[in-house]
């Protein structure tokens, strides 16, 4: 029974969204690649259309791998929020994720925080 539960847990959607006032926190999946990115655009578009969202915080604490597909998602969310005068930040990046973020120039666009609380507090 316990194993069965674990199997089901694996099938849960990998992105989990959380809202703190007008800030959207996106808990990114373990493998943040093209395969796992496919629904993110659609889901965030829907969330941003239905709610007033002035900022996004990306949570990388579960993420062990990211490639340029992940960067594409980050940059597009950044453009949308930045155009509306909002802020985008992130926390929890492991060394692989951090190297990819740096090569793509992300730290110049989004502030890095140590933890979720610090990111929310800004």
């Amino acid at each position: 029974m316990q194993n069965h539960y674990k199997e089901e847990e694996k099938l849960e959607p990998s992105f989990i969204y959380e809202a703190k006032e007008h800030t959207l926190i996106i808990h990114l999946p373990r493998e943040f690649d093209h395969h796992n990115c496919r629904n993110l655009k659609y889901e965030t578009d829907l969330l941003m259309a239905e709610n007033y969202i002035s900022g996004i915080i990306f949570d990388f604490t579960q993420t062990r791998f990211m490639d340029s597909s992940g960067i594409g998602i980050l940059l597009n969310r950044y453009k949308e929020i930045h155009a509306g005068g909002g802020k985008v930040s992130f926390y929890g990046a492991c060394p692989q994720v951090m190297r990819v973020l740096k090569i793509a120039g992300i730290p110049a666009l989004m502030k890095e925080y140590d933890c979720k609380e610090a990111a929310i507090f800004g």
Binding site: E31, D33, H34, H35, C37, R38, K41, F65, D67, S68, S69, I71, G72, I73, L75, N76, P95, Q96, R99, V100, I103, A104
Partner: protein, 142 residues
């Protein structure tokens, strides 16, 4: 020091986004015999992921197809080949320009730049209707 014999692997897989992770993990496990650092393993995984993602999205336009992954080790040199029989590209140089993408919107256009950043050498052979072959080389252990 004894000269090690060349070692090789070859694998064919369906062009599916699920296989992006599969391919990069296979390449990383194959390369592990070279005793790479964690950073080198990450480099290999990222580069392979980029090449296979390109084959899935651009080569086969997210439709059916077969992608071949080959890897070889000779002394300290790792060679990885990702090959597809998809639509190919007329202008490889343009495709390799940083930030260029045939699909503006969700794609960053950084795929080839990432391969070049994480591997020592990247060669791309492609022509319209003839598929694409990406050959990447990296020295492991410096």
């Amino acid at each position: 020091m004894k000269v090690k014999k060349r070692e090789f692997m070859s694998m064919k897989m369906d062009s599916l986004s699920e296989n992006e992770e599969f391919a990069r993990v296979v390449a990383a496990v194959f390369a592990s015999r070279m005793d790479p650092t964690i950073e080198e393993i990450d480099d290999i995984k990222t580069a392979v992921s980029e090449a296979v993602t390109n084959a899935v999205i651009h080569g086969y336009q997210e439709k059916e197809g077969i992608i071949t992954l080959e890897a070889a080790v000779e002394d300290r040199l790792l060679t990885i080949i990702v090959q597809d029989d998809g639509i190919g590209m007329a202008d490889v140089e343009k495709a390799m320009e940083p930030m260029y993408t045939s699909r503006p919107g969700e794609r960053s256009g950084m795929g080839f730049s990432f391969m070049e950043a994480f591997m020592d050498q990247v060669e791309v052979v492609s022509a319209p209707g003839k598929g694409t072959t990406v050959t990447m080389r990296k020295k492991i252990g410096r």
